[in-house]
């Protein structure tokens, strides 16, 4: 039973919590607002909060000058591609570890996790050279492959923690009723597994979308996703706040919305089930 709280205390808490929440959110809000300003308004002193002439010009310019949607599409292909391939490989593995655990299942899980702890920079040189020598440098295929591998342990683990919660008795009951392996998978397991698979997909798309070590080091103009494209605004000649803001807003908006939907799964996925 929740404890009774006075209205006064609740009001004070509300005030403090909203202040802190808005402070933490402010840089994002500011970026979104700036994206609708003219460049002159964007650097105006004192800053203009809402009292400026709203314009969509920056969004148009960003697209025209740099073919923004090509990079956006690269991000989509790389993040969804690596996640889907990862799921394809991980679902059978996680399924069998959860339902037919062997003596070595635990060791395999722990070992998979250990590959995730390998710092990227430790294998930067060989991966870069292998990519260069095979002509895969600056291709989406390479990025899909690398991101699949670096996120595979997380995908397996997330799926495993979800699958493990499906009661084994339900399988036995289905078998008693004469279900074949095929119908067991199709009619019993799949419906129960879909929410877990969906959350895994969501979280991994987010992680892959924001991955900024391999995407920065292995891509150039052709296959650069948004992480690398935005980085090109760091050069001094790219110092256009309103355009930077427009490009940034488009880059973070879709993933921010996905992220808000996945906040519950986030904890479980990123802690490998250690906190639920």
């Amino acid at each position: 039973m929740p404890r009774a709280v006075t209205t006064r205390r609740k009001a004070v808490t509300t005030l403090i919590a909203w202040t802190i929440g808005l402070l933490i959110f402010f840089p994002i809000l500011w970026t979104v607002l700036t994206s609708f300003k003219s460049e002159a308004d964007a650097i105006a002193i004192p800053p203009k909060f809402l009292n400026f002439d709203w314009t969509l010009a920056n969004y148009v310019t960003v697209q025209e000058r740099s073919n923004y949607f090509r990079h956006f599409w690269n991000s989509v292909v790389i993040s969804f591609g690596s996640t889907l391939i990862g799921l394809l490989i991980a679902i059978p593995a996680a399924w069998s570890m959860a339902f037919v655990p062997g003596r070595r299942t635990r060791d395999i899980l722990m070992w998979m996790l250990s590959t995730k702890m390998l710092p990227a920079v430790g294998v930067l040189v060989p991966i870069y050279l292998l990519a260069r020598n095979t002509g895969l440098l600056d291709t989406r295929i390479l990025l899909v492959g690398v991101l699949t591998l670096i996120n595979l342990p997380i995908i397996v683990w997330m799926l495993y923690t979800y699958f493990r919660e499906i009661p084994a008795e339900i399988l036995e009951a289905a078998r008693m009723d004469g279900a074949t392996l095929r119908s067991e998978i199709l009619y019993v397991l799949t419906p129960m597994a879909i929410p877990g698979i969906a959350s895994t997909l969501l979280l991994n798309v987010i992680l892959a979308w924001n991955e900024a070590f391999w995407t920065l080091n292995l891509t150039a103009a052709r296959s650069a996703p948004l992480t690398a494209f935005i980085a090109s605004y760091s050069s001094p000649e790219g110092l256009f706040y309103a355009k930077l803001s427009a490009a940034s807003t488009m880059a973070i908006a879709p993933i921010l919305i996905l992220g808000w939907f996945s906040q519950k799964q986030l904890v479980r996925g990123l802690t490998f089930g250690a906190v639920k």
């Binding site: 802190i20 929440g21 933490i24 062997g102 040189v125 070590f213 993933i255 639920k276």
Partner: protein
């Protein structure tokens, strides 16, 4: 209860994942290890020769290495301190009843989903810029000189940016842990006359210990590899003032093309990360048995 056939099937189903990860681990790792013992520069192809421990010797005696090691530790330590303490405070706050809980929770969580290059550039240009930044305006409006954050305090500025990105993660995990706290125990303690501080210290904090450990370990894994934030804000400078180990290896191998030296640095980075990983794996392994 598993039959022999189902065990064979299970093995077949696991093998693609295992083989891929095994390849991903062994091939590049052994190459890094091999390169680290070579004199190998991309600008002089065909001149590779055995170097023994020369690269390691050079790497360890390079003043940039000690700077990078120190910066790595300061960066990780600084961000951890801010995010853990801030995370606990925010989690405690969000656990209280108030109006609009759901919305505030979304606001607090948002920075975690912002890609590193965006958050770094937004902070660098729109907030920390000494001429046009919001901080410069705030400083001037109270009569202070604007401070050039990224020139005079590059590492501290990067710590600030990275902490902003990771604070939501810590807060969310600690909040989740906090919500599993047994409220009866709290009430019993309150009835026995324990003040809010005593309750926090003797009940809440021990309850959060496990989640705090997880936050520290997982963040450390990611924080050891901070790269994009440094690349787009300071490029490791001025000098080596904001170069961490990851960035140093990147500079040596992809900017100076010294594959041998970069690989030696990579091996050192792997060893460092492994020390952390061992502790993390123990924590997660324990949970697996439970």
């Amino acid at each position: 209860m598993s039959t022999k056939a189902s065990r064979t099937a299970a093995r077949l189903m696991i093998s693609p994942a295992v083989i891929l990860l095994l390849g991903w681990m062994i091939v590049p790792l052994s190459m890094t290890l091999y390169f680290s013992f070579l004199r190998y520069n991309l600008l002089m192809p065909g001149m590779e020769s055995w170097a023994g421990f020369e690269n390691y010797h050079y790497f360890f005696t390079d003043p940039a290495f000690m700077a990078a090691l120190r910066n790595t530790l300061v960066l990780v330590g600084g961000v951890l301190t801010i995010t853990v303490i801030g995370g606990i405070l925010i989690a405690l706050l969000l656990d209280q009843p108030f109006w609009g809980q759901g919305i505030v929770r979304l606001l607090v969580l948002a920075p975690f989903f912002v890609m590193p290059t965006v958050s770094a550039l937004v902070w660098k240009n729109m907030f920390m810029n000494p001429v046009n930044g919001v901080f410069a305006w705030l400083a001037r409006s109270v009569g202070l000189q604007p401070y050039d954050f990224l020139t005079h305090a590059p590492l501290a500025s990067i710590i600030g940016i990275v902490a902003w990105q990771w604070l939501p993660f810590a807060a969310l995990i600690l909040l989740t842990a906090l919500q599993s706290l047994n409220s009866e125990q709290m009430e019993a303690a309150e009835m026995d006359g324990a003040g809010p501080l005593a309750r926090f210290w003797f009940i809440t904090l021990p309850h959060l210990a496990r989640a705090i450990t997880v936050v520290i370990l997982i963040q450390t894994i990611f924080l050891l590899s901070i790269f994009a934030e440094i690349l787009v804000t300071t490029n490791g400078g001025p000098g080596t003032a904001s170069t961490n180990l990851t960035f140093l290896v990147y500079m040596q191998s992809l900017l100076q093309f010294d594959v041998g030296l970069g690989s030696a640095g990579g091996v050192v980075a792997i060893i460092l990360a492994n020390i952390v990983a061992i502790f993390l794996m123990r924590m997660i392994g324990k949970n697996l048995d439970a």
